[in-house]
């Protein structure tokens, strides 16, 4: 009996040693993984300021922010009307146009298709804009409307609106 107890104690000691070793080795793995997360300088990457002054009604510009394109479109009255009057029931990812803009004249979107990350067409005058007149992703055929909302195709959600604010009437800072 005493012998058995002794043996148990020994097993416990050895097992806890191995467990300690495993925990030690395991925690060494974390820094190896974590180093691949964005570094402090990447996280602090400068925000981008965009002057909207030269952007006339109906025109669009693309700026780079955090390595990705940001679409800025100065929408026409018709485009704003069409985006606003859309019945939310028709939308795959229902969102009011008002909730997606700060100033209804300007729509600011991250130009990355929410399906698999391609850059949709529709910024240049000659581009295919898709069935809803906004943007069209050529990779797998996602159609976005004037508010950047997904209307048709495989993309699950609307184009992302980045964090931005108006510094003055015609100057925005993204990020």
């Amino acid at each position: 009996m005493a012998k058995k107890e002794n043996k148990n104690r020994r097993d416990f000691l050895v097992i806890s040693t191995y467990a300690f070793g495993a925990v030690g080795a395991g925690s060494f793995v974390w820094p190896l993984i974590d180093q691949m997360n964005p570094a402090a300088d990447t996280l602090a990457l400068a925000s981008t300021e965009v002057d909207l002054e030269p952007l006339e009604e109906g025109q669009a510009i693309t700026v780079k922010w955090r390595g990705k394109p940001v679409f800025i479109r100065h929408r026409t009255k018709e485009e704003i009307m069409s985006a606003k009057k859309e019945n939310l029931d028709n939308l795959k990812d229902p969102q009011k146009d008002e909730d997606r803009v700060l100033n209804e004249k300007y729509i600011v979107l991250v130009g990355v298709c929410t399906h698999l990350g391609c850059v949709p067409l529709g910024q240049k005058t000659g581009d295919v804009k898709g069935e809803y007149g906004g943007w069209f992703c050529p990779c797998h055929g996602s159609h976005y409307d004037h508010s950047g909302r997904i209307r048709k195709g495989p993309a699950p959600v609307n184009l992302e609106v980045p964090n931005y604010k108006f510094l003055s009437d015609k100057l925005i800072r993204i990020g």
């Binding site: 020994r10 000691l13 050895v14 040693t17 300690f20 070793g21 402090a40 602090a44 990457l45 400068a46």
Partner: protein, 258 residues
């Protein structure tokens, strides 16, 4: 067996010390040792002192010395919060560009900007300083043997040159600089800055503060490193003890036979 381990550690320590003496032996000048807040295994940076030191750097050193490895956001390590950093960095003028017209422009700084350099390049720096190049201070404490004590000694080492010692034009006599002639005029004078926190800006105080700041700039990870080190080493000591007794247990039958 215990003796064996002690011997091993002893051997190792001797080995290291010997190596270090050889390497350290290359410097001839001894610097007076100061009582730094950041020395020792549990040492941390005196944040208030380092903040004052940053003020000294800004108002005195930064005229000639850049710190290009630091960004304003790094100063959060000295205890500044985000709003303070934004306000602080906005006081600096950053040359950015090119803009849409292809030209450089000046804008207020942001926390993500690196410290503004006083000169656009090394040639400009040399031209403005009579051929001497004011070194970048980002790593100065790590880049000199016994860095903190050296800096402190250097900053307070400006003395009247002995009569028979010829000090050429544009050079200054400093007891702690190798060769005793340095191209940098004495940078720190009493009340050279007016400390925001009301501390009396004596020469000694300023020199200590700026050294603390530069020590932090060289090793901003130091506090994390030491803190993590205490945890890791405590863990490993417990692990070693467990492993030792496990080994004794497992080996007991073998040892008995012998």
């Amino acid at each position: 067996m215990c003796k064996n381990i002690t011997f091993k550690i002893y051997f190792f320590v001797i080995f290291l010390c010997l190596g270090k003496t050889c390497l350290a032996a290359s410097t001839d000048i001894e610097y007076p040792s100061q009582d730094w807040s950041f020395s020792g295994i549990f040492g941390t940076f005196d944040k208030a002192s380092a903040q004052r030191g940053f003020q000294v750097y800004r108002e005195v050193c930064s005229g000639c010395h850049g710190m290009k490895l630091l960004s304003y956001r790094h100063l959060s390590g000295l205890g500044y919060n985000n709003e303070e950093l934004k306000a602080l960095s906005a006081q600096f003028e950053i040359t950015d560009g090119p803009n849409d017209d292809g030209e450089s422009f000046v804008r207020p700084g942001r926390p993500s900007d690196t410290f503004v350099s006083p000169y656009p390049n090394e040639q400009a720096a040399r031209a403005a300083n009579g051929g001497a190049y004011p070194p970048d201070l980002s790593l100065i404490v790590k880049a000199r043997a016994d860095g903190a004590n050296y800096l402190h000694a250097l900053l307070s080492g400006y003395k009247e040159a002995p009569k028979d010692f010829n000090v050429p034009e544009g050079m200054y006599y400093n007891t702690y600089y190798p060769g005793k002639l340095i191209g940098m005029p004495q940078p720190i004078y009493e009340d050279g800055v007016e400390y925001a926190d009301g501390t009396k800006a004596s020469e000694l105080q300023m020199s200590k503060d700026v050294t603390t700041f530069l020590a932090w700039a060289s090793e901003p990870e130091m506090e994390n490193r030491k803190r993590l080190g205490v945890t890791v080493i405590s863990f490993l000591i417990v692990f070693s003890i467990l492993a030792y007794f496990s080994m004794k247990q497992i080996w007991a039958p073998i040892k008995k036979k012998v």
